[in-house]
Symmetry: C2
Subunit: 367 residues, 2 copies
Amino acid sequence: MSVKTVGVIGSGQLGRMMAIAGAPLDVEFVFFDEALSSPSSSFGPTIQPSSKDALASFLDKVDVVTYESENTDAELVEKIATSTPVYPSVKSLRFSQHRLTEKTLFNELGIQTAKFERVASEADLDQAIETLGLPLILKTTTMGYDGKGQALVKTLDDAKTAWNSLKGNELIAESFVTFSRELSIIAVRSTNGDIKIYPLAENDHSNGILRVSRVPAQDVSTEKQEQAERFISTLLSELDHIGVLTLELFDTETGLVANEMAPRVHNSGHWSIEGAYSSQFDNHVRAITGMPLGDTSTAHPHCAMVNIIGKFGDRDLVLSTKGAYLHMYNKTERQNRKIGHINIIAESEGEREQLIQKFEAFIKECG
Amino acid sequence: MSVKTVGVIGSGQLGRMMAIAGAPLDVEFVFFDEALSSPSSSFGPTIQPSSKDALASFLDKVDVVTYESENTDAELVEKIATSTPVYPSVKSLRFSQHRLTEKTLFNELGIQTAKFERVASEADLDQAIETLGLPLILKTTTMGYDGKGQALVKTLDDAKTAWNSLKGNELIAESFVTFSRELSIIAVRSTNGDIKIYPLAENDHSNGILRVSRVPAQDVSTEKQEQAERFISTLLSELDHIGVLTLELFDTETGLVANEMAPRVHNSGHWSIEGAYSSQFDNHVRAITGMPLGDTSTAHPHCAMVNIIGKFGDRDLVLSTKGAYLHMYNKTERQNRKIGHINIIAESEGEREQLIQKFEAFIKECG
């Protein structure tokens, strides 16, 4: 007897992992996506948006709606919200979709970001170079993911190339942040305003794609963890956010600098499936269905996540390793595609690093 | 891209938990059952045995078949096995379905059981009373579950009543075993003969229904764990068993006494979902699909499982307790029905007992 039925806009691996986490709570799922054969399609019916009376048929089946991507159509979300609760709300979604308003909000809330300028013309770009100095990063204000839709500008020549490649889009120029590492903080807020926060994750990227997350991040001072928690709590409350929210951060000499947020479960939180008492997927489902939140602390002293990208790799190596967990997404191999991940739990930092090392081929050879 | 598709005969909570465990391994599921709305029905298509070309249609979709119950039709399993691998094989199934041949096998393999006699007539029963003494237990040789199909015989009058209630069935009389507690040992064997064994579980029953399992069992000597491991390994190899096998045991002054086996994942192994490195469901799926087995040791020092029987109970109490995990089966409330369970992980035995105590209402008030 299902407690609630959750509608998910999208049917990728995030919806899949929400459905797997929701099952033991008697929560059922319906997906709204064109793809009928998808990572989520084994876990509930899929309604194709192109089908007759699609939206009415979708909403008829569900008690609450959520989404997988910050690129979800905000107008669709607004339309749904007139009849069915959508969590996180369109407010969180719209801020996440626009780098300029997002960074402006961060600064208003006392969350440090890179310095930035709006760029609507080549003259604006020249002015931004003047104000921010070089190098800077020119980005589209909307869309862009895993390093797409942005260009690093080191010289005036680069500026011309970047402008020619990105012009026609609304743009933002951001000063280059010198950081020692990338971190992320993930938290969840329930319908009654309770907040639970996961420990900071330390994230290794390559070619703009996340490869490895470690939790807890190495050598994090109490101040740094508290600063990150203050940032995300402030955002959750300001946005009246319900569900999981992720904030990507740079660790710099002047403290934590916010890069961007995602109004959803996040790749850098996948470790939590085995690593935390309650995973980000479990907590997202609890939050949006009005259940009490679960504990977000680590259930094992050291955790990690290694992405499986492009190629399946040596599955049996993962399956035969104690403390390693295979999570595949029912996807085919394709370059740069996230097709699964490996979770790692360990008693010590050394053991964790040994396990990450063991799966080096997944990190180096995939692509 | 599914690695393999598993067909399950049945669509109850065991199939449900296999499907949830199989998902991260890219294993998909199809269920063979009349019930279209069942604990498993959200996790793959259901083929109704009464539908046209049902079996062909089911087998066409699957690479390997397994089953949820020792009461599965053995002739169906034999028929399927002519075209599609079925694990565990019909040999394990037939022995599990017949108390007389099962106990005979146990004794042949050096596994201690209660003394027993076949009872085909009232005269046989009188003879059994002579040989075994009173009290004894009169049971049907086939079927019977959770205390059904059996009668305790303390007096000659009881014998008459028991005979009248059970006659018409093939019967077995078993001597009464005086035991201090009930234990179970669960193990898994892969297609290449590898065996992995979970720690002994200690099981509390009430009205013949399992209420609480604790792992590891309290005060188990190395000899006792080894004896149980020897029993189950011998059985797995003798039966050429593939998948999970459970052996229920009585702890007595003369050592472990085998009660019965089940050729499947078992209620007393549900703790392993969060409690073990690799759960019984994960390992069953790995075994029958030819994957390497996972580690069966506990991932937390002390684990337990509390059944949710008959009534939903205070769900929020479970969800708000650190170290407690709610597992519902998408079933409605009904007396004596297993509708879910609570898993517990704890750092100490004291903490485990406190958590079990916290969920006392689930144990006492359900029914």
